[in-house]
Symmetry: C2
Subunit: 278 residues, 2 copies
Amino acid sequence: MDVVHSFSDLRRIRSSLSSPIGLVPTMGFLHEGHLSLVDLARDQNSSVITTIYVNPTQFGPHEDLEAYPRDIPRDLNLLEERGVDLVWIPNNEDMYPPGFQTWVTVDDVTKPLEGNMRPGHFRGVTTIVAKLFIALQPDKAYFGQKDAQQVVVLRRMVKDLNFPIEIVVAPIIREPDGLAMSSRNVYLNTSERQAATVLSKALKTAEEAFADGNHDADQLRGLVSRIITSESLADLQYVSCADMETLDELTGEISSGLLSLAVYFGKTRLIDNILLGV
Amino acid sequence: MDVVHSFSDLRRIRSSLSSPIGLVPTMGFLHEGHLSLVDLARDQNSSVITTIYVNPTQFGPHEDLEAYPRDIPRDLNLLEERGVDLVWIPNNEDMYPPGFQTWVTVDDVTKPLEGNMRPGHFRGVTTIVAKLFIALQPDKAYFGQKDAQQVVVLRRMVKDLNFPIEIVVAPIIREPDGLAMSSRNVYLNTSERQAATVLSKALKTAEEAFADGNHDADQLRGLVSRIITSESLADLQYVSCADMETLDELTGEISSGLLSLAVYFGKTRLIDNILLGV
C-alpha cells in the first residue's frame, strides 16, 4: 500500500494503478462504516484509493474542525488490512493554495436539512469532492447512506458537471444497539451514548408504521418527533420526510421518501435516516 | 475529422485519440484568431479537439445570445483544413440536463471589468469550461489573449481545482487596420467598423507612451480614455489598468499591467487590451 501526501507523488503513483479504480473519500478516524465502503470498492475494482482529509471548508466557524478526531496510524493499519492500494493524505497547501477562490456549488438540493443548519457545508463538500474527482479520475466513488443529503448533492453534481464517475452508496452500518456509526460518536459521554439509541429507535418505529400502512408524511414526522423529544438528553434540531431526489418536504400520503433527522446530545450533533418505500 | 454531437458518441471517439490532446473551445463563427489557436494546438499535440458551443449561461438576459452569429458548415470546413481530429458540437440537453443546478465559480478575479459589466458571465464561462475539461480531459487548452480576464479567471480555476491541464494563451490576431478579430465585428455597420479602429489606436498610443517612460497608471488610463472619447461613434464603457494576476486596479507608477477597455459602437460591444511591461 502506497501512502502519499504531495500532489506530485500522487500523480506519479496514480498513473501506475490499473483500472477500474474505486475511490473512498474519508475524513479519517475510520469505523466499520468506512471499511464497508472500502470492502465494496475492493470487490468492484482493480485498484482502490482512499483519501484521508479533514476538509476545513466544510466546517462552519463554530463547528468541530479542531476537535475532529484523528488517528492516522490506526487508519493506515486498517486500510492496509483491507487491501487498499493507495492512500492520499493531501496537504492543505495543495488543496487550498494561496489566493484560492474557486468553488463548486449545487443550488436547490443543498438548501434544506443539513444545508439549512450548516451554511457553507455543502459548498465545502462539493468543492473538495470535485477536486478529488479531478485529481484522481476514479471510475467509481463510494459514499455512505448515513450522509443521505450528501449523496443526493453529489449525484446531482456528477450529473451536472458530466463526471464519468459512478456514485456507489452503501447502507448505514450500526452498532449492536442501533446507533449509526460515526466518527463523532466518541464525543458522547456514557449517558448521552445510551440516550443516542433513541434516533434509530424512532426511525425504526416510523419504518414499521409505514410498513403497517401509515403513509402520511406529517404523521410519520410527528411520530419520530414525539419519540425523540421523550428522551430528555436529546435536543431535536429537525425531523424531515422529503422527496428522495429533490429533497422537497413531503405532505400527505407518500409512496416513498427520505426520513431524516438531526439531534444534539450536549454539544454533539448526530444525524440518521431511513428510506421509506424502496 | 470526426464530428460528434451526443455525449455517448463523444466518449467513444475521445478514447481512441492519442495523447497529448489539445483542446480549443469556441463558440463557432471562426476567424483567424480561433484558427491561430488551432494551429498552435496542432503544433503542440498528437490530437486536437475543437468544441463549438454557444453557451447560453454566459450571456446575460439582455445580451446577444439569439443574434450571436453561427455558420457550422463553414466552421467545419475551416477546422478540417487545419487538421483538427475531433469536433464536438454539444447538445443543450447534454450540457444542461433538466434540473441542472451545479456551478463552478471563481470569486475575486471575476468581480471587476467584464465581470462587473456582465453579471453572471464568468459563472457561465467557468462552468462550461470545467464541464469541457472534465468530459474531454485534454492535456492543454488554448484561449486567446483577446479575452484577457477570461484567461486570468481560467488559470485561477485550473490551479484551484487541480485540473492537470495547461492553459496556453495565444496573442490577439488583428485586421490589417488594427481591429482585434471578433465574431461580433460582423454586427458593425460601415461607419462603426471604421470608427472601431480607435480601440487599437488608443492602446497602441498608450503602449508607446509606456515605452517612452510614462509609467503612471492614471495617466495611461486618461490617455486611452481621451482618444476613445474623441471618436463620436464610440461610447466608452470602461478603461482599466490592472494587475495582471489579481486584476486589482493600479494607481501611480507601474512596472507592468493589463490595459483593457470595453466600448460600444451602437449596440455592438467590443473589447480589446494590451499587456504593458512584459
